[in-house]
């Protein structure tokens, strides 16, 4: 029985570890400036936890085989423990876990402790059951007012956001269903939600932030590769949660300018 347990525990450990190490399924290729740091921290954590995982499971398997009762007489070793060992492994885990945390903290701080830089592309992202809307402030650089009582999802676009047409700043606001942003320039996103909590999750950009009714959450990211990247809502928001997706389209600055100008022209 001890041998079977050893084999099963070891096999499970090897199989589980294989798919991690072979990266059969892994984080998608990162396309934002933050991805390198996040992936690096993931890798460090993965290596440390992986070593501990393999060591602990292998030891467990080994011990149950090695110390199986084998019918011969004789007793188990009598020991109530070893204080020195307790102190050693407690200290080691403190150093390991807290140290790991401290290594990762600067990356978090860089991502979240500062506001977006001046000159970032500003996009307001609004989640509602079950769609994302994106708003650009237009040439005046200011978002027009929105009012909940004006919201009409069936009207789409401006109606869905409840844009107040009387506000002069709203005249040049562009509202789209696809989020187009220029590459290699910071994007400031202002996250809002109308009804329930949604979460703006773009795995390739290593970006996630809940959009909460009543809050306007300012975040930023810098895409570094052009392409189309999928948004998947990551907070349960109701029956259509699974289909609340969208696209972040990262293009060159000139392409972006043309696209925005064309949207602006459509509006006039």
């Amino acid at each position: 029985m001890g041998l079977v347990l050893l084999c099963v525990i070891w096999l499970i450990t090897i199989a589980s570890t294989y798919f991690f190490v072979a990266k059969t399924w892994w984080l998608p290729h990162g396309v934002s400036a933050a991805a390198a740091g996040i992936d690096h921290q993931f890798a460090i954590t993965f290596v440390i936890m992986g070593v501990v995982f393999v060591a602990a499971q292998m030891t467990l398997g080994y011990l149950v085989w090695k110390y199986r009762a084998n019918g011969s007489s004789g007793r188990a070793g009598y020991s109530h423990g070893n204080t020195k060992l307790e102190i050693i492994w407690t200290t080691l885990t403190v150093i390991l876990f807290i140290g790991l945390n401290l290594i990762g903290s600067p990356i978090w701080a860089a991502e979240r402790f500062r506001p977006a830089v001046d000159g970032a592309t500003r996009v307001e992202v609004t989640g509602m059951q079950f769609a994302w809307y994106f708003r650009y402030p237009g040439p005046d650089g200011r978002f027009g007012a929105t009012r909940p009582e004006l919201e009409d999802a069936s009207a789409g676009g401006e109606g869905a956001l409840g844009l107040d047409a009387k506000d002069p700043f709203s005249k040049d606001d562009v509202i789209t269903g696809v989020m187009e942003v220029p590459v290699n320039r910071e994007v400031e996103v202002i996250l809002r939600a109308h009804d329930v909590i949604h979460s703006f999750f773009v795995p390739s950009l290593r970006f996630k932030q809940d959009a909460v009714p009543g809050l306007a959450i300012h975040m930023h990211f810098t895409p570094v590769e052009t392409g189309d990247y999928e948004i998947a809502c990551a907070e349960l928001c109701g029956l259509g949660h699974y289909k609340m997706h969208g696209i972040v389209k990262v293009v060159s600055q000139s392409e972006f300018d043309q696209w925005l100008a064309a949207r602006e022209a459509d509006k006039q």
């Binding site: 347990l5 499970i12 589980s16 798919f19 399924w25 984080l27 740091g37 996040i38 921290q41 993931f42 954590t45 995982f53 602990a56 499971q57 467990l60 149950v64 110390y67 009762a69 007793r75 188990a76 070793g77 009598y78 020991s79 109530h80 423990g81 204080t83 060992l85 307790e86 885990t93 876990f97 807290i98 790991l100 945390n101 990762g104 978090w108 701080a109 979240r112 909940p148 069936s154 109308h194 009804d195 329930v196 909590i197 795995p203 290593r206 970006f207 996630k208 809940d210 009714p213 009543g214 809050l215 998947a232 990551a234 907070e235 349960l236 109701g238 029956l239 949660h241 699974y242 289909k243």
Partner: protein, 576 residues
Amino acid sequence: MVAQELHGHAAPQGFIRKYVFSLDHKIIGLQYYFLALSAVFVGMFLSLLMRIHLIWPTASLPIVGQINPETYLTLLTMHGTIMVFFVLTTAPQGGFGNYFLPIQIGAPDMAFPVLNMLSFWTTFLAYMVMLSAFFVTGGAPLHGWTGYAPLSALKSSGPGEGLGADLWIISIGVFCIASLMGALNFITTTLDMRARGMTLMRMPLTCWSWFITAILGLLAFGVLLSAGILLLMDRNMGTSFFLPLGTINGQLTGHKGGSPLLWQHLFWFFGHPEVYIAILPGMGVASQVLSTFSRKPIFGYRAMVYAMLAIGLLGFMVWGHHMFMSGMSPYTAFAFSIMTMAIGVPSAIKTFNWLGTLWGGRIRFTAPMLFAIGFVSLFVSGGLSGPFLAQPVLDIQLHDTYFVPAHFHLIMGVAAIFGIFAATYYWFPKMFGRMMNESLARWHFWFSFVGTYAIFMPMHYLGMAGHPRRYSQLTEVAYLRPLIPLQRFITFAAFITIAGQLIFLFNLFWSMRKGKKASDNPWEATTLEWTTATPPPHDNFGGVTPVVHNGPYEYSVPGAPRDYVMQTDPAVVAVH
């Protein structure tokens, strides 16, 4: 300890007083156990339907018919709620704690038998209210077991958010009241009802785990109860605790000024300690069983006690790690993250000590021992994904993906369930006077152990690939489609694992009638429950009160006549 002498109540006669509205902690323990047993099969059935729907979204099933996206969310909500409250909170604490805490500390009953009866029947009421949510107009709620507002606070946010959601909240509120009563009883019993010589540091680690769990329950359930009342008021009385100015389906909600994050703070202030409420008794049982069947004292008894106390204390300071992506201040994330990493330390101490207990032992591979070894393995696997999720910077990628269900199912779900299985196989002889069938138990173990890994290990891979949780269909988001084969594998693994649980069910009921007769101490164990008759008499020790001379795990004492010294035996002096 004086309380004991004033305590006794006569054995009841009629069926109703003896088995239904019983004051006997042993009967109440069994009542809790069977409630949890029914709940675990309901919860498991719901998860089976979920797994089927994910792979065959258009399949029409007997009885339930075709599952649509909102039904999937209903299944998910009720699966989580029933499992967390009516299984993981109920079986280890209400079931085994009730049955064995008094016996293991040498008491004739719990401190407050009437309160004990009330807490069971209140739990039963909560369970009935929860199940009734399936049958009302609109069905059960779809807001997930975490019930995030505003989704849970607005009746028009989706099907099931009407009466079904009200019943869900009421059920949880009633459950909180029951758990508060239970917690008071456990704490008082542990502090006041111990037999002579049963010092705190001679208590079995199971008793320590039930005691600490009760303290956590006392502090946590009150908060959830309050939060539930506020939520109910937001829904039905026009208040706005959790609701800001907003719309639903384009209509103004009529609320303003509330905060959706307030719900999350209150919920997780309960919710994180709840994780430890589920797993601590499992740790206690694992320690007890590993020591018994390694024939060795537990390695580092004091360290084990301090580690559980540390886990209990830190457990109240880490709730914010569920909220790194919620819009909470990024500075607080910093503090919550450090505290969360710190809680890994006592968890690691426990693992080391379990391995240290096995080291140099003479291991007997009984059914409870297999599940205790499985518990350690699962605890390690589930525990080590914790430091990923504890780091806010990694949560950017992993939060609300399948990585999270992978983590918590391994550590608080299945590890705790393995604790319950270990406890069942270990104490069944004492509870029913018969042994469970060992070969069936082994089959049950292999199905459960391998199956669990086959189900939950791949979920880590899904999470890393960015697969969000709680998606009822996998075909809408393009990058999820290549992951469907992995989802299919998980579903097949679930089929097999669930089939394995039927072996357990059969073994349980078959052994009650047909199992081999058990002696008073079939495992040659040391704690007080093994000193009394099988099953124990109404007052547990047949009119005598045990006197304790030894620690709980004196195995293989050099020079002792047998390889185990019971707690009531004359004090041991080890001859080296």
